[in-house]
Symmetry: C3
Subunit: 210 residues, 3 copies
């Protein structure tokens, strides 16, 4: 049962990030193959880096489930696009759900490999954030993760609470999964809505060489 539910979470995360990548590429006026490539890279980027780090088979290579999901999502995004053009909110929601879903997937894969909880949270953050970072680098934008709103913070906080609830409470595993995913989406949404920001460093930026 767990196994099936984990697959569902992984598929939902893949759909979310594939949508997010496809919309971002359409917004940049790419052609259909460009949209497909950006969508693919956004959806599998984080999980691929995680699987390479863990030295386990890369999750999208041995069966066609993930590739099919991405392909269908891309077609849906292209069709949906011609009906709907409020990209900003759509992109934001898919990106937030992808972050929540993939953070939990990444932490679980780290737990399966018996890694230290801190390393598990790191893997969760990598799984959740890297797809979006690669997408933004390819689209030549400043990665969303480093723009002003709380992003990686939501992933780190959600991941920590997930591990605390799993190890220190008797709550149902599935309940903990769902509520942590929603918590991450909620933190992200409230952060953007109410312009929450972490305190920043004020450096001597006029000395910047960039």
């Amino acid at each position: 049962m767990h196994q099936n539910f984990n697959l569902i979470i992984e598929i939902l995360g893949t759909i979310s990030f594939a949508m997010s990548g496809a919309f971002a590429a359409m917004q940049k006026r790419f052609d259909p193959f460009g949209v497909l490539i950006i969508s693919f890279v956004t959806a599998v980027g984080g999980g691929t880096v995680r699987d390479l780090l863990l030295d386990v088979p890369v999750f999208w290579m041995r069966d066609m489930v993930m590739c099919s999901v991405i392909f269908i999502t891309c077609i849906v995004a292209m069709v949906f696009k011609s009906l709907e053009s409020r990209f900003r909110v759509t992109l934001f929601l898919f990106d937030s759900f992808g972050l929540g879903l993939f953070t939990i997937v990444g932490i679980q894969k780290g737990m399966n490999a018996d890694l230290h909880p801190i390393i598990c949270i790191t893997l969760g953050t990598i799984t959740g954030c890297f797809g979006g970072i690669i997408r933004d680098i390819l689209l030549n934008r400043i990665p969303l993760i480093f723009r002003k709103e709380i992003y990686a913070t939501a992933s780190i906080v959600g991941g920590t609470i997930f591990l605390l609830l799993v190890y220190h409470t008797r709550l149902s595993y599935t309940f903990v999964q769902i509520s942590t995913i929603l918590l991450i989406v909620l933190i992200r949404t409230l952060a953007v809505k109410y312009h929450w920001q972490m305190p920043k460093f004020y450096g001597v930026d006029n000395n910047s060489e960039a």
Copy 2:
């Protein structure tokens, strides 16, 4: 025989991309070591990502053939450069041949690992396109693959035709290899010459956050 011919294709692809990287770096006025590094990364980037995904030994690490080829190509490019400065056409031709040659190499490695044809085409596209993407990111340019002309499309179309010919005809394997490589170069060349483009999406780009 197949084995030898495959090695020849891999070496020719490496020469093409090493040339392409070296010329791009000289155009940006890098010093000789910078030219060598960009040349190396362009030539091995796609194949390295492919081998990491397949979890097979990285192709340039166990013998000195590829490193020697890249080193000699770089020297030739630097000497050739002082005689010749029509970079644009030269760069384009080497890049197109590299794309064709490496697409077929990538697909073959996927077939050797008994992967699904769609995954094989994905690996071919990654092998053909990633070296150039990394080169362009390091040179701080918008990746060539996402500029207006057909690029990844040529790789995907050529790769699909390659697999169809291999599995559904009785044509000689070597003939299929050579003709698909030339087809990819031809699609790229015609696309640039006649400004072929895929239809694009026209989004609400004034809402762009980038």
Copy 3:
């Protein structure tokens, strides 16, 4: 004894690059989690790529030493920051020491895997340079390595001298390690102080498409 000394070198290199990443991120006015992420990626980036290429376990995943070192370094950098704002020199020094220390670590890991000396030097350069390249790509700067001063050159020259001294002299191994690391830092420092540059290629840059 060698083993312990190698661990010390790896930890010192990690501290240097974690500092360099943290200062660069504070200079860009990131929030504390952003500083932590850039610091982490800068410190582990080069070694991670090296370990993936060698197909050995990634060095920071199996124990908590490196993660703890990076975390503490980050805290120190944030506190130290509020007392001190001469980023440019600090950043430069940490970056140079990281380059020297990680170059030697990378070469040693290649020697342990019985690779060809040229491949070992390549691995040393990758270990020394990739963390900084990833840091600069994430910060949206032209990678430091491709700006005007000698950088990869210092790593390649230092690495070559290290291998020559190890294989062709009877000097103590630890002495060779320390002196080559200091040599790399010295080359970098003198290069910046006296504006040493490699001769460059003067291309038809007005034809540049970028």
